[in-house]
């Protein structure tokens, strides 16, 4: 009989708890969020544009930047603040006061409930001048709903250099409904995933490199036989399903980080020819394989509830492969973490099997100006400084030189003292969005990562799908119902705990159809088609 903790009543209790606890598992669901564009904007232009342009009109000044009045800018970044933020802030403010007659307050959301806070910050309309955006913060959805100011007119006036610095293709790529709402990062990286595995064990037991489904299974089998105490796959909560990518039929699937929308197979080479892989032979094959993995003990039987699994388990030597969420940078970190342990690890990027890789989409890291901003011009001018002025940039990316970091003779980033206890670790302000490739400093472990990037670059093709700003309003209820059905019926299949896979898949398909699968898939396909036509694919 707990005393009522939420004195303010019932209201949004569900959604708030939701947001708090979600952390950001949103990745798996919101991968679907697809994105901005033609049909999608049919409704978005109607709702967002008129008022948005109105806001822009009041915001656009007659002449260039007017700095006569001193202002304080509210800057919001997701994640945790570094310990020495105050020091950085005061140093930045010294410069900004001189350059722009402005000071800035850096606010952070913390990681644990950023998604709830992000929602509240924008919905409450409190004055915010700059806020981080990404595909995973649902940039396109917010832009569609009118949460951000369109920057098209503002950019040439308030941040002309920045406007020229970011290539035109990138400005185009972040457009939602034909307008720019965010300033994208120009740093090109690959966040495609791969398999991290124990190379020493592979050599020891003479196992194949897990570069295909068959080899992966041989590898897992060899590990289980020789290391009976191990549950070879380290992934938690069904993330091993990334191995879908290794099925020959699904190889060409234009796979988006997180998940594929609504069980659709969108072939990269022929994206108009969309089919449903849910319920297909390939789907059944994979589910049977997952069931086998569970039965043979490659996966823990209660993987869905096991919170300790993940790369940590792998790093402690208790598992032999990680199948999910290992992009080259993450692999680099595992590499340096495990450097002294005597365990040798290696990396197989999924794109090498698929035959092509996609560099990160420009919306992955950016900064927007919310509609509630009182000083959009100054905010944009400040952001320009952050990206292009080396003093601002280095200070906010790496901290104070000599105190937090040093640059080694060969130009590498070197943390001063224990990196784990630093008051400002590398990119301590999560400054992914204002990375400037010309000023960037890397530590030595990055050399391996850079090597993988080079390898991926050779098979690089543009990511054209992320630009689709899906508008799911027409099938919102079905979409939500479908998500429930997925968790209730598909997830156990993927976890390999349903005894009769074929019957289980049939049940799932029936339930999914009842929830409105067809309507959702058709709705998405329509938007996809007109988007593809618009971008000329």
């Amino acid at each position: 009989m707990a005393v009522p903790k939420k004195w303010w009543g019932l209201g949004l209790s569900a959604s708030l708890l939701a947001a708090i606890l979600s952390g950001c598992s949103s990745g798996s669901n919101n991968g679907n969020n697809g994105d901005a564009q033609a049909t999608a904007s049919a409704s978005s232009t109607e709702s967002a544009s008129p008022s948005a342009s109105g806001a822009a009109a009041t915001a656009s000044p007659a002449s260039a930047l007017d700095t006569s009045k001193k202002v304080e800018l509210q800057f919001y970044m997701v994640g945790d603040a570094p310990a020495d933020l105050k020091e950085i802030e005061s140093k930045i403010n010294e410069m900004a006061l001189q350059d722009l007659n402005a000071t800035v307050k850096f606010n952070f959301t913390t990681w644990s409930d950023w998604s709830q806070k992000y929602k509240l910050l924008l919905a409450s309309g409190q004055p915010i001048d700059l806020i981080f955006t990404a595909d995973w913060t649902q940039y396109q959805t917010y832009a569609n709903k009118g949460a951000f100011l369109p920057l098209d007119d503002l950019l040439p006036k308030s941040a002309p250099e920045l406007h020229g610095f970011v290539p035109k293709e990138m400005w185009d790529a972040v457009k939602v409904g034909g307008k720019i709402y965010t300033v994208p990062s120009t740093y090109e990286e690959y966040v495609t995933d791969g398999i991290v595995y124990r190379e020493d064990l592979r050599k020891k037991y003479n196992l194949p490199v897990p570069d295909s489904l068959e080899h992966l299974e041989n590898y897992l089998d060899g590990i289980k036989k020789n290391e009976p105490g191990m549950t070879p796959i380290a992934d938690k909560g069904n993330l091993h399903v990334e191995a879908y990518q290794l099925h020959p039929d699904l190889k060409n699937m234009a796979y988006k980080v997180g998940s594929t929308p609504y069980g659709l197979n969108i072939p990269y080479d022929d994206p108009h020819n969309v089919t449903s892989y849910w319920g297909s032979q390939a789907h059944l094959d994979m589910l049977k394989i997952f069931k086998g993995w569970t039965d043979k003990g490659y996966l823990p039987r209660n993987q869905l509830n096991d919170a300790t699994r993940g790369p940590d388990l792998f790093a402690s030597g208790k598992a032999a492969v990680v199948l999910s969420a290992q992009n080259p940078t993450a692999y680099g970190q595992l590499l340096s973490k495990m450097a002294g342990t005597g365990m040798e690890i290696a990396y197989f990027p999924y794109p090498m099997y698929k035959g092509y890789s996609t560099p990160v989409h420009p919306i992955h890291n950016g900064f927007a100006i919310p509609t509630s901003s009182a000083n959009p011009e100054r905010a944009l001018a400040f952001y320009e400084k952050l990206v292009l002025d080396k003093r601002y940039n280095l200070l906010t990316e790496y901290g104070v030189e000599g105190k937090h970091y040093e640059v080694s003779a060969d130009g590498h980033y070197q943390a001063v003292g224990d990196a784990g206890a630093s008051g400002f670790p590398r990119e301590g302000m999560n400054g992914w969005a204002w990375r400037n490739p010309e000023y960037m400093l890397f530590d030595t472990s990055y050399d391996v990562v850079g090597g993988i990037f080079k390898q991926l670059e050779t098979i690089s093709k543009p990511d054209f799908l992320t630009g689709l700003a899906e508008d799911y309003t027409p099938y919102q209820a079905e979409r939500a119902a479908l998500e429930q059905v997925q968790q209730e019926y598909l997830a156990p299949l993927e976890a390999g705990v349903v005894k009769d896979v074929e019957a289980g898949l049939k049940t799932f398909m029936e339930k999914a159809k009842a929830a409105g699968l067809d309507k959702v898939q058709d709705g998405y396909k329509q938007q996809l088609d007109s988007y593809l036509t618009e971008i000329g694919r």
Binding site: W7, S15, L21, S26, A123, K145, N305, R479, Q487
Partner: protein, 325 residues
């Protein structure tokens, strides 16, 4: 004659009533002005903190749009509620929510009353203090930790329960894929976590029962059990009823953390463990819709409101003094 007298009686009562009414709020404000002054800050507090935000109920009937702000957003009537129904599981999760809470209320109070009475019987002060503190411990264990601890108890591969089962030569149980176990597990953890807390409420009452009652009963030759049955328990009734009314008011709120951290994303168990909060939470993760969230909240509020009215009505019938209003 009769009619006239009846009429006279009628006007008489009416007169009393109007005089009474004239002696209404304004009169009382003057008469009891000190007492009104004493509750005034509290009334203002609730007015601002709770009543003012209630205008937000309106959002349940709008389609939220950032540009137009909260009150400019288009009015869509019952659209959000229709969507809630369309999600398709409202009936099941409502039943689950109510059923779980009834069990929680029943068993939770039974255990708390028992613990409070028995604690009071214990003479050793040191023992009493230590155990009471210990029983309070679970209240501080966060649900996130609880979730991972439950996993190390119940998981198939290396869980403590299965290790023990194997010692005794029994077969391993796949607890996480067997929905039938979960109502028990969840109820256990609920009681476990709240026992110390609700015991205190009862203990504060038990401790204050006038010793004269017991002495008198002893003179009448009542046994210790009889004294508990006929003195302690009846005197705990008002406390129980308050707890009951509040618990009923919170029925529709469910116990989100408890269910979410124990069950998580394990779809196998949803049929037995899904409550309104967890279901709506999962829906909102995908739909990202403020209107729907408010509609769900309003549905919960409304249902809770009706329940509390019924319960209060019944209590009022039985004993007016115990009713909340």
């Amino acid at each position: 004659m009769e009619t006239i007298s009846a009429g006279a009686a009628g006007t008489q009562t009416k007169e009393i009533r109007t005089r009474h009414r004239r002696k209404g709020l304004l009169y009382d404000l003057r008469k009891n002005r000190i007492m009104w002054l004493m509750v005034f800050p509290v009334l203002v507090y609730f007015l601002i903190n709770s009543y003012l935000p209630m205008v937000g109920v309106y959002f349940a009937f709008t389609k939220f749009d950032f540009n137009s702000g909260l009150f400019g957003s288009p009015f869509v009537g019952f659209e959000n509620f229709r969507m809630l129904i369309k999600l398709g599981a409202l009936e099941k999760i409502t039943i689950n929510t109510v059923a779980y809470n009834l069990v929680f209320i029943g068993l939770g109070n039974a255990f708390a009353v028992t613990a409070a009475i028995l604690l009071n019987e214990i003479a050793g002060k040191f023992f009493k203090r230590i155990t009471q503190t210990v029983m309070f411990l679970p209240y501080f264990v966060s649900f996130v930790l609880l979730g991972s601890m439950a996993y190390s108890f119940f998981n198939y591969d290396s869980g403590f329960v299965n290790t023990v089962l194997q010692w005794f030569g029994m077969e391993r149980q796949d607890i996480y894929n067997t929905p039938a176990y979960w109502p028990f597990i969840i109820t256990f953890f609920y009681i476990w976590k709240n026992l110390g807390y609700s015991t205190i409420i009862y203990l504060a009452t038990v401790v204050n029962i006038n010793q004269d009652y017991y002495e008198a009963a002893e003179l009448d030759g009542a046994s210790a059990w009889q004294k508990i049955w006929s003195i302690t328990l009846p005197l705990l009734k008002p406390t129980f009823i308050i707890l009951l009314l509040f618990a009923v008011g919170h029925i529709m709120k469910g116990q989100f953390d408890l269910f979410y951290q124990l069950v998580g994303a394990n779809g196998m168990l949803f049929n037995a463990t899904d409550i309104i909060d967890t279901y709506v939470y999962r829906s909102l993760k995908v739909t990202f819709d403020m209107g729907l969230a408010n509609a769900a909240g309003l549905y919960q509020s409304f249902f809770g409101f009706v329940l509390i009215m019924i319960v209060n009505f019944i209590i009022k019938k039985i004993n007016r003094d115990y009713a909340l209003f």
